[in-house]
C-alpha cells in the first residue's frame, strides 16, 4: 500500500508537472529505521523568557548524539534539522515576541523533514490571565506554523507542568525522530511520573509482552511488526475467521496467534487466563480492533449501531476492566493504548455509530488515566486520520484523493505511522504521557 501521488509528485516528470499545474507536492517523509540518528542534522535550542527546560533539552539531545546550535546565529551556515523552543518562561503576551524573533530566522533555515517543537507550561496552571493567555497563544502559533512548514516538516507543542520535567525526554525524542513523521500540529500535556532510564534505544520494548487486537491485517498488523521490531513478544489477537492471516502475522513477527472474538461474553476471561498461563502477565495492550458499519443515522438499523459499539468501545472497556481487576496480570508500568479516530473528533457523515464509539474511546482514556497513574501505568488514545490501508484503497477515487490531501503534509499516512506512535506510547520512558489523545493525521483539516 503506497501513496501513488506522493511517489509520482516526487518523480522527475511528476515534480515538474505538479509545479507547472500548481498541484500539491507532498514530500517524502522521514520515517524511522532502527539505528537511524535521531536527527539528520543539528538542533537549534532556544528559550523565550526564563525557561527551566533548556538545559534538560540540551542534555537529552547531546545524549542522543545531536549537535546543538545556539540561537544567536553564531553557528552561521549550519542548517538546523530541528528547532526546539523552551517557552516555559513566558509570563505574558509580550514575551511571545521573543518566540517570534527566535523561530522566524530558524524556520527559514530549517532542513526538509525538519522538526519544530515548543515546550511550555500548561495554561491551566498559570498564575495570571496574562500568563494563561501567553501559554494558550502558543497553541495558535504552533498549529499555524505547522501549516506554514513545507517539505515534510512538522511542528508540535508539549505542555510540561511543574514537576514533570523528568517526563520530557521521551516525547522530545519521539517528536524529533522519524517515528512522528505523520504527527503534526499536535498538543500534548505531560504529567509527573517516575520515568525509568532508557535501557536499549534500539529495542525499547525488549522483554515486554504486548497484546494487539485486530492484528490480522492493516494497521493492526503494522502495530504487531513495529512492536516486535522494538523487542516485544506480540500476542496477536483477531476474530477466528481471520485466523489464517493472523497466523501469518504472528509467524512473521515471532509472536503468538490468539483467535478470539473480543465481543464474546467470556472473551475477557479467556484473554486474562491466556496471558496469565502463557506469559505470567502483560505489559502492553493495544486496543486496535475496530469495524465500520456506515449509514446515515436515519437509515441505520440497531444491528449496525450495536455491532460497532460492541467492537470499538464496549470490548475495550470490558477487556481493560478485566485486566485491571485480574490480580497481577497487568504488570507494573503497563501501557494501554486505545485506537480512536479522527472521526471521533471531527465527526463524519454516515458514521454516527463509528464516530460515537471512537469519541467514547477518548472519554474512556481520560477517565481512566488517574487509576492507571495510581499504579504507575498509562492509558492513552491514538486517533489516526487518513491512513492508506486496504480499507481506504476501496474508497472512490475522488473521495480518497481529497481525504489524503487535506492535511498539512498533503498526503495520507501509512499504517506504520500509527504503529510508531503506539509503540512510542508503549515505551517505559513514556511514563509521563497519560490520558492523552495523540492524533496521527498530518494535521488534518478535519477536527483540527
Amino acid at each position: 500500500m503506497s501513496d501513488w501521488y506522493t511517489t509520482f509528485a516526487n518523480s522527475g516528470v511528476g515534480s515538474a508537472l505538479a509545479e507547472q499545474l500548481g498541484l500539491p507536492r507532498p514530500a517524502v517523509l522521514r520515517r524511522y529505521e532502527p539505528g537511524q540518528p535521531l536527527l539528520p542534522g543539528p538542533a537549534l535550542v532556544g528559550s523565550a523568557g526564563e525557561g527551566r527546560l533548556r538545559e534538560t533539552l540540551t542534555a537529552v539531545l547531546r545524549d542522543a548524539g545531536v549537535a546543538v546550535l545556539a540561537p544567536d546565529g553564531s553557528d552561521d551556515g549550519e542548517h538546523p534539522a530541528a528547532v526546539v523552543l523552551d517557552a516555559t518562561g513566558v509570563t505574558g503576551p509580550g514575551q511571545l515576541a521573543v518566540a517570534h524573533d527566535l523561530l522566524a530566522p530558524a524556520v527559514t533555515r530549517l532542513r526538509p523533514t525538519g522538526r519544530v517543537l515548543v515546550l511550555a507550561d500548561p495554561p491551566a496552571d498559570a498564575g495570571s490571565p496574562a500568563q494563561a493567555a501567553a501559554r494558550q497563544a502558543l497553541e495558535g502559533l504552533v498549529r499555524s506554523l505547522a501549516k506554514e512548514l513545507r517539505a515534510g516538516s512538522t511542528a508540535n507543542l508539549v505542555y510540561v507542568p511543574e514537576g514533570a520535567e523528568a517526563s520530557v525526554a521521551s516525547p522530545l525524542r519521539f517528536f524529533l525522530s522519524g517515528r512522528s513523521a505523520y504527527v503534526d500540529g499536535q498538543v500534548l500535556t505531560l504529567g509527573a511520573a517516575e520515568v525509568p532510564a532508557e535501557e536499549d534505544a534500539l529495542r525499547p520494548l525488549a522483554g515486554k509482552v504486548a497484546v494487539v487486537t485486530g492484528a490480522a491485517r492493516g494497521i493492526g498488523a503494522a502495530i504487531a511488526r513495529v512492536m516486535a521490531r522494538d523487542g516485544a513478544h506480540v500476542v496477536a489477537v483477531d476474530v477466528p475467521a481471520a485466523g489464517e492471516a493472523l497466523a501469518r502475522v504472528a509467524n512473521e513477527v515471532g509472536g503468538t496467534a490468539v483467535q478470539l472474538d473480543i465481543t464474546a461474553s467470556d472473551a475477557a476471561g479467556r484473554l486474562v487466563t491466556h496471558l496469565r498461563e502463557r506469559h505470567g502477565g502483560v505489559d502492553v495492550v493495544v486496543h486496535n480492533a475496530g469495524i465500520t458499519r456506515d449509514k446515515l443515522l436515519v437509515n441505520m438499523d440497531a444491528a449496525r449501531w450495536n455491532s460497532v459499539m460492541a467492537v470499538n468501545l464496549q470490548a475495550q472497556l470490558d477487556l481493560t476492566r478485566a485486566l485491571l481487576d485480574a490480580d497481577g496480570v497487568l504488570r507494573p508500568g503497563a501501557r494501554v493504548v486505545c485506537v480512536s479516530s479522527q472521526s471521533g473528533i471531527a465527526g463524519n457523515r454516515g458514521q454516527t455509530n463509528y464516530a460515537a464509539s471512537k469519541a467514547g474511546v477518548i472519554g474512556m482514556v481520560r477517565a481512566w488515566a488517574p487509576e492507571f497513574a495510581g499504579r504507575g501505568a498509562t492509558v492513552n488514545a491514538v486517533a489516526p486520520g487518513f491512513i492508506v490501508t486496504e480499507m481506504t484503497a476501496r474508497m472512490p477515487f475522488g473521495t480518497r484523493e481529497v481525504g489524503a490531501r487535506i492535511n498539512s503534509l498533503q498526503q495520507g499516512g501509512l499504517p506504520v505511522d500509527v504503529a510508531e506512535t503506539i509503540a512510542w506510547l508503549s515505551q517505559p520512558t513514556a511514563a509521563g504521557v497519560n490520558g492523552q489523545v495523540v492524533r496521527v493525521c498530518g494535521q488534518s483539516m478535519l477536527g483540527a
Binding site: 513478544h233 496477536a236 477466528p240 475467521a241 481471520a242 485466523g243 489464517e244 493472523l246 497466523a247 501469518r248 504472528a250 509467524n251 515471532g254 509472536g255 503468538t256 496467534a257 490468539v258 483467535q259 478470539l260 472474538d261 464474546a264 467470556d266 479467556r270 498461563e277 502463557r278 506469559h279 505470567g280
Partner: protein, 429 residues
Amino acid sequence: MSSPQPRRAAVLGGNRIPFARSGSAYAQASNQDMLTATLDGLVARFGLQGQQVGEVVAGAVLKHSRDFNLTRESVLGSRLSAATPAYDVQQACGTGLEAAVLVANKIALGQVESGIAGGVDTTSDAPLAVHEDLRRVLIRLNSAKTLGQRLAALRGLRPGQLVPEIPRNAEPRTGLAMGEHQAITAREWGIGREEQDELTVRSHRNLAAAYDRGFLDDLVTPYLGLTRDQNLRPDTTVEKLARLKPVFGTDHPGATMTAGNSTPLSDGASAVLLSSDEWAAEHGLPVLAHLVDAQTAAVDHVHGGEGLLMAPAYAMPVVLARNGLSLQDFDFYEIHEAFASTVLATLRAWEDPAFCKERLGLDAPLGAIDRDRLNVNGSSLAAGHPFAATGGRIVASLAKQLHEAGPGKRGLISVCAAGGQGVVAILES
C-alpha cells in the same frame, strides 16, 4: 547402565484446518500444502517460530509417490527450525492417533522432549496410478540404453493401458468398499436406521455448539477461505436425514446406511503438540492432558468373520485391563464416527455378553457407557474425515475438553481403520 523411567507425555494443544468436502475448497491444495499450513498454524499458536522440536511425525493415507518424505518436506516449508527431524507413518484412518502414540512413546522414554504428531489427507488431489502394464513399459523405457531397446519397450504399448487406476475406497483383499463392509456389520448387529440418524444429528449439533461457544477458537485455523468444517449442517434433523436413500448394503432389503450417516470423503490436516512436563513448563505452555496409554488391535475381516471396523472393540479390553480401569471410568469418550453404525455396533459389542465372552475372552461384558459423554464436541460425521487427520483432531479436542473439565478427568479414544485395524488410547487431565 540405567535407562530413564518412563514418564507420561503431555498434550499441549493442537491445530487443524477446517475439513473440506472432497473436490471443494481445497481441491487445488496438495497434502504438503495442507500439512505445512497446519504446522504453521500450530507454530503461530504456540510461538514456535524457528524452534526445533524433537520430531514431527505425520502421514497420509492417499499419498503421491513424490510425497515419499511428506512430513519432512512440510517441516522444511514451515516456520519450524529446519533442524527438526521428521518421518512419515501410515495406518489408514488410525494414522493420526498412531503418530501421537509414537511421539508420546519417545517422550515417555526420554528420547525426545517435544514432538508434533499429525496427519493429512486429500481425496481431491488423490494420486492416480497408471495401468500396471503401462507402468512396466515406462520403467523398461526408462532403463533402455539403445534406440532398439527403446523401440522394443514402446512396442508393449496398448491404447487400453492409458486408463488410469483411480484409487478406490475399497479393501484390497475383499474388493468391498468400506461402507459395504460396515453395512454387513450393521446388519449383523441389527443397527437401525433411526438410531444412526439420531447419532448423526447429535454429531452435527455438538460440533455446531462447540464452534458457537468458541471451543474451536484455539483448535482450528482457517485455510483458503474456509473458516468452519464444510460438512457441518447445524440445522440437520432426523426427519431430513430420513429422506436420504441408502447407499451401502443396498443389495439387502432394509439397508440403513446413507450419505448422511456415513462420513463423506474429505480433505484436511491436523497436528498435535506433545512434550514432557518439563519442556511444557520451560515454554510456559499449560498441559491440557497426558497420554496415559494406547493399544492397537487387528481382526481378520477377510476370513475370520469379524467386521472390518471392529478392531477397536478388541483393543479396548487390553488397554483397560492394563490400566485397571473399566469402560465406565471415563468422563468423555471419543469414538471415531467412520459411520454412525460403526459407533453403535462397537458400543453394542461391548454390551453384549456373548461377544465379550466368546470374542474378547472376558468373564463379563464391558458394559454400556453414558451416551451423554460420547463425542460431546461432535465428531467425524459432522466434521468430515480426512483419513490421517482424524486422530490429531480427536486428541487435541479431547485434551482440551478434559482440561476444561478440570484435573483428574479421563478420556477414551477409539479409532477404527481400514485393513481390519484399530487404535485406542487413554488421556487424563
